[in-house]
Amino acid sequence: MAIFADSSTRVVVQGITGRDGSFHTRQMMEYGTKIVAGVTPGKGGQKFDDEVPIFNTVEEAVEETGANASVIYVPARFAAEAICEAADSGVELVVCISEGIPVLDMLRATRYVRDHGSRLIGPNCPGMISPGETKLGIIPGQIVEKGPIGVISRSGTLTYEVVWALTQAGLGQSSCIGIGGDPVIGTSFIDCLEAFENDSSTGAVVLIGEIGGTDEQNAASYVKEHMSKPVVGFVAGQTAPPGRRMGHAGAIISGSAGTAEEKIDTFRENGVEVAERPAEMPKILSKVMNG
């Protein structure tokens, strides 16, 4: 068991012939991901590495191969449209790795995905991995291990750091989800928390946040109200400078400065234990899981 994707997930890669797309498709196949199709408009009929059929459109790929998930590596200016195309073709899980998508485009794309009943992870994220089952994205396969910890994170390399610390301490993972660092994303901390709560293979959850916004605060109250499984948090950016903030709209809309301190306090007030540094995470997890 895992959340969102497992060994049965059939994956189409959008942008499979690009530099990043081809490199990471090979990495995913090596990990055991079922890559059933690729999409590059104009290259339909060809094969990727003599093995994976390439289609001009996602719709054809889905019809011909039964793909039910997609991973997107296309350049930023095509990425929002690629997300919509996947959703329109009935793909249930869309993972968008591409970074640099204008936020105004994402407002439309996230709405579109929701209206079509699909789930979007990202954009600007490392994707997800369910150790021993499948990986959709770019999380290095060698740092994970199958086990009971669910991991949710807004960042990339910081996720690797924490996951690697868990693996070294013998704490394997059920699924690791990088939800992405952009202001507007498809899947929130809360969506992942809900999925982990309902996943029988997950015993505890690690939530890696950072400064900015109020996602962590909202996640903290969700944990208090709806989670029976223990959650341990980490927030990066305690030493980040307050900056030369321009305009008042941000503070008015959220009623919050989004500082690490505020997030850590909210975690603790809602029963989420907080690791002060990544290396401390395994010890706290072991404690809350045995307590």
Binding site: D20, T157, T239, R244, M246, G247, G255, R277, A279
Partner: protein, 378 residues
């Protein structure tokens, strides 16, 4: 990307939002000349990418051209939150009967643009929002349809419930503000205050507009508004190489891949008793050239006493970083000790490259940070 008030006002003008006239001066003499042409009282405002200008003394009223010159003398060259003021905007002083607030932002919690208005505009708007949130009115825009006319009208009548003439003017301004936001690719746009003059006219006497950096590739005209002179020069240099650099007050120079890990590294420096000298993210696919630039920027900072590399290889290859470090040290004298931690993709090759060049490499983040902090104290 931030743009200046005078640039935002130009965008407002193009969209038909009423804005008072104004011209930019870079010297006190120019400010005097502009003020004498306008005649009467003027306001002289610092053009700088920092909030809290007014409270820092960067906005002054002048009753005549001579006073405008004196005001410009005081403001030009002034430092506001570490940034030097190089330009002032000179505009005729307005008679103000009322101040309202209008703003729009991408609300991450709802994944939508939210327009906000308050009849209690001015510099204390955040306090209004905190203490009397019922005085802030909002309209959420559905991205499928854009801002609908009735939404603009509804918001406008919240501002001026007893004055249909002003409410109609406001509805028109709200509509044009939203259009400006979309056209400019802004993530935030603000009029504070939106004034009513004694004769009942509405005018935007201040303007703020933050552009989403991801829009710059497709909005060339907006990208040209970047005022490189008003930004810190190291930050500009870093950006040209695809790096993100922010100078801080400490003495441990940090070079990390990924923003989250970079922040966590800085936090750990502090945890072990040190102070980070900077935030520096070399980004995802890092070439040796990027690493060279990163080291040039860090070593140019005289307060750095110890350099720390923290690399978790994923897309970033550790051997690329190692090659960059070796290359950089052939070109520049570091002058301070360097601590290198790297793990992940191509770690073995990286360690070999570094050891051949006489460096040692660590794999544990905590140990590396502790060492870098200690070295900064010696």
């Amino acid at each position: 990307m931030n743009i200046h008030e005078y640039q935002a006002k130009e965008i407002f003008r193009e969209h038909g939002i009423p804005v008072p006239p104004g011209e930019v001066a870079t010297t006190p003499a120019e400010a005097e000349e502009i003020a004498s042409r306008f005649g009467g009282g003027v306001v002289v405002k610092a053009q700088v990418h920092a909030g809290g200008r007014g409270k820092a003394g960067g906005v002054k009223l002048a009753s005549n051209a001579k006073d405008a010159r004196k005001a410009a003398e005081k403001i030009l060259g002034m430092e506001i939150k570490g940034l030097t003021v190089r330009k002032v905007l000179v505009s005729p002083a307005e008679d103000i009967a009322h101040e309202a607030y209008l703003g729009a932002i991408v609300d991450r919690a709802n994944g939508a643009v939210v327009l906000m208005a308050s009849p209690e505009g001015g510099i204390d708007i955040e306090e209004v929002a905190a203490k009397t949130p019922e005085r802030i009115f909002k309209e959420e825009v559905d991205a499928r349809y854009g801002l609908l006319e009735h939404q603009a009208s509804r918001l406008a009548f919240k501002l001026y419930p007893n004055d249909a003439s002003r409410a109609r003017q406001a509805a028109d301004i709200i509509d044009k503000l939203y259009a400006s936001m979309i056209d400019a690719g802004a993530s935030l746009i603000e009029i504070n205050p939106l004034i009513t003059t004694e004769s009942g006219e509405l005018k935007a006497i201040d303007a703020k507009l933050n552009v989403d950096d991801n829009e710059l590739l497709r909005k060339e005209k907006i990208a040209e508004l970047r005022d490189v002179e008003s930004e810190a020069s190291e930050e500009v240099k870093a950006r040209s190489q695809g790096l993100t650099y922010i100078k801080l007050d400490g003495d441990v120079g940090c070079c990390v891949n990924g923003a989250g890990l970079a922040m966590a590294t800085m936090d750990l420096v502090k945890y072990y008793g040190g102070e980070p000298a900077n935030f520096l993210d070399i980004g995802g696919s890092s070439s040796p050239e990027k690493v060279v630039t990163a080291l040039e920027i860090i070593t140019a900072d005289p307060s750095v006493k110890s350099i720390l590399f923290n690399i978790f290889g994923g897309i970033t290859r550790c051997d690329d970083v190692a090659n960059g470090i070796v290359e950089a040290t052939e070109q520049i004298e570091l002058g301070v000790p360097i601590t290198i931690r790297l793990t992940g993709t191509n770690e073995e090759q990286a360690v070999e490259i570094l050891e051949d060049a006489g460096f040692s490499a660590m794999t544990d983040m905590d140990e590396a940070v502790k060492k870098a902090v200690e070295l900064a104290k010696n």
